[in-house]
Every structure is written in C-alpha cells, then in structure tokens.
Symmetry: none
Subunit: 125 residues, 4 copies
Amino acid sequence: MNIVISNQSQDPLYLQIEKQIKAAILKGELKDGDLLPSIRVFASELNVSVLTIRRVYSDLENEGFVMSQAGLGTYIKHVNSELLQDAKYKVIEEKMKEVVETAKMLEISKQEVDEILTILYEEEQ
Amino acid sequence: MNIVISNQSQDPLYLQIEKQIKAAILKGELKDGDLLPSIRVFASELNVSVLTIRRVYSDLENEGFVMSQAGLGTYIKHVNSELLQDAKYKVIEEKMKEVVETAKMLEISKQEVDEILTILYEEEQ
Amino acid sequence: MNIVISNQSQDPLYLQIEKQIKAAILKGELKDGDLLPSIRVFASELNVSVLTIRRVYSDLENEGFVMSQAGLGTYIKHVNSELLQDAKYKVIEEKMKEVVETAKMLEISKQEVDEILTILYEEEQ
Amino acid sequence: MNIVISNQSQDPLYLQIEKQIKAAILKGELKDGDLLPSIRVFASELNVSVLTIRRVYSDLENEGFVMSQAGLGTYIKHVNSELLQDAKYKVIEEKMKEVVETAKMLEISKQEVDEILTILYEEEQ
DNA sequence: GTGGTCTAGACCACC
DNA sequence: GTGGTCTAGACCACG
C-alpha cells in the first residue's frame, strides 16, 4: 500500500491517511485479515506523529473498517464484496448529489456539467 | 433574501453566509446596486457577532462581489454576465473535482460516474 | 469649475472635493478673490451632505487656500504665482519620493520605473 | 526580519505589517519554506492583538505569499521568479498611478515629471 | 504547542 | 446612522 501525504492538501494529515486506507480497502488492495503496520512503525514510515496514526486507527475502528487488539495489532475487518461495491457507489453518489443540487440551483444544464466532468476526468490520470 | 445558518454545518458561520449571498447574486436574486443590510442589523438578524458579518462583507469585497463604503453601506457590485457565467462554472468545477478525485481513487470508470450524474439530474426535475 | 465625485474612488467624498478645488487653484482656474458657492448650494449641486462641504471649506481654510467670513461666503486667498509653481512641484516630488524609495528597496532600475511612468502617462488623458 | 509599526502611520497596523513582510519576501530576505513566528509570539513581540496578526497571515495566505496549517505554523510559499517580478512591478505601478493622476490634474508635463524622477533616483545612490 | 473561528465590546472616520 | 480597525478574551481542531 502506498500512502502519500502532502502539506499542500486542504485535508489534515489524519484525514488524508484515513481516506487512502479506506480507498485501499474499497479497491480490494487491503483484504479481510490483513495486518496494518504498528502505530510506531507506520508513524515513522510516514514521518508523522504517533498521535496522528493513533487517531487514524481509532477512527477506522469506529467506522468498522478495522479491528485493534492490544498486543496483537490492527487488522482489516471482513466486508462483504457486494456491500463493498455498493459502498463505492454510495460514496460517489453522495458527493455527486451536492454537485447536481448546486448546478440546478444555478441553472446550469446537464450538458454543461457533463463537459466539466469530462474535462476533469481526462486530466492527469 | 433568506439566509439559513446552522452550527451543525462543517462550514464556519462566515462561510455559510458568504456562500448563500454569492448564490443569491449568481442566481440573480441580488442585483447590481442592491443594498445589503448594515453589519449591525444583519448580525442581530442572524444572531451572530458583528465581526462575523464584517468578515463576510470584507471577503465578498475582496472577491469583487460587493462594495462597502463607510457611512453609506454595502452594495452589490456590477458583474458582467461573462464573469458571472465563469463564476458559476468555477463553483461546479470545484465540487466536481472532489467527485472525480474520489472516483479515480476507487477506480470507478467515467461511464459509471456519468450514469450516476444522469440519474441524479433526472430526479425531481 | 468642474467637480467630479465617484463612489468608486478610494478617497472619501470630502477628500475628492478638496483635491479638485486645490488642483483648480494650483492650475489657476480659481484665483485670488474668487467666490466659492455657498455650502448649501454647493452641497445640492454635488448631491452630497452639507456637512461634507462644511468640512471641505474648513479644511481648505486651515490649509490657507480659502477664507470664510460669516454672512459673506468663502473666498479664494491670494497665492504668489512663484509659490504656486513651487507648490505644484512639491506635491509631485512628495509622491514621487515614495515611488523611488520603494523602487530602490525592491531593486528596480530607473529604466524600468521610467517605462511604467511612460505607459501610465499615455493612458486615457 | 525587522518589523516597525507606528500608530502615527496612515495605514492600519495590519497593513503596515503586511507591507513589510511582503517587502521582505520580494527582496528575498524571506524565502521559500521559511517559518514565520507563531501568531501569539509575533503578536506579543509587536505588542498587538493576536487577531491583528491572524489577519495579516490570513491576508498573505489569500494573496498566495504564505501557507498556514493548524498545528504546524505559517510558512513562506514558493513564488516563481516571474510572478515575483510581476508583483514588484505591480507595487510600483500602483504608486506611480497616483503620481501621474496628480500630475495630469495639475497640468504638469511628462518631461517635468521625468526630471523629478531622475533627480530623485540619483540622490543617495 | 500551532492556526481557525467566534464573541462582546470599543473607538474611529465618514455621511 | 454607516463601515474600518482593534482589543482581550474564549473554544476548537490539529500535531
């Protein structure tokens, strides 16, 4: 798994890391039972504070993505693959809803929104 | 003009207010020369600090939407319709960027995202 | 004398008016003994508050450009023509000093400053 | 970096500070990545309110000179040298505009203004 | 520790 | 009355 953090991002460090771990799970790169690095190791790898990683793991545990056990480490939890596919769609749908809502409010046609989508999709893959 | 603010929102108060005023301008509800409420009146109407409204008006002035003059008040500035169209696009582009970023991260194809867009656009037309 | 006031200007109304009256005196359009309009007439002509004109006349009197006498009106005071020429230069020199000081600080050559001056001088006479 | 503020100046505190920081960046005294003092430290050093420094940093961030991140601090941002050159020009142009405006109003020829510029530029070389 | 937001007051210049 | 600036606090998220 490749985690990239940037101080140019709007998101705080902990959120950047969380998002990328979640994405790896949704993409299937991280599967049921996989062991995540220990807090200290991960922190030194990413060059961030252990507090930041502690928060990441704690957040992911609260959201049901991982399971931490003292003395053992942090593991990826089982997620049904159908649910997983649904989850991916849901994430996009949620964000797209806001776009469409705003577009309608500003009276921008679907064609125009589509153009923007196409342009953005072709940028720097 | 109807401004709704919520302490449940992610956005700080000043941003919530700014966004709604901008939306009103972009929609044409607020036009060239219209007088906005005085900072004190607006603050008491929305039940926020005068400094919060001061910040809203000051930000909007920096972005060229309004013009404030001591002793006179704060007015909506003329924006030529081309700039206005640009501004509307920019708002959508900003929001769409996040969608595309997430979609790419989750390896969702443009076709799939397009489907979601189409479905959402046809809802509650 | 033609006074133009604009709500687009950075300067407050009273300063815009003062500057133009002073300029008219320096240019020789207003001469020793000329009678300025009464406060009320002038205010209604320019469509500003009488308080604003009162301030203008009071400032100009303090700076020695005019003389007000109750019941008579406000008159332009005598200024020696040599002094007048000097005054014009002094005004420009004062402002130019700041330009040169800044240019030197930012290490901009005289040639470059000269270019800027030429461009600005050719704009909209 | 030496910041000098005066309550005699026409400019409000926040502007005086902003100008001097910008000048330091334009001169190269402050470079890409340099850390500015924390708002609290800076405020107590200059003996002004933290909100005044907050405004300074926030304005500089909006103008693209610095980047602030909660928990980390405020850093000088990279500006490519072309932009920097532009910025320097803009500063001079701004100031020169006022000179030219006044000169035109007083009917002083470009030649005369040029003379003044030359004299001032040769002083205290 | 850092910056980000917000409040409740105050004084000023301008109209 | 209007906006413009400033202070002295406070609480929050982040590292």
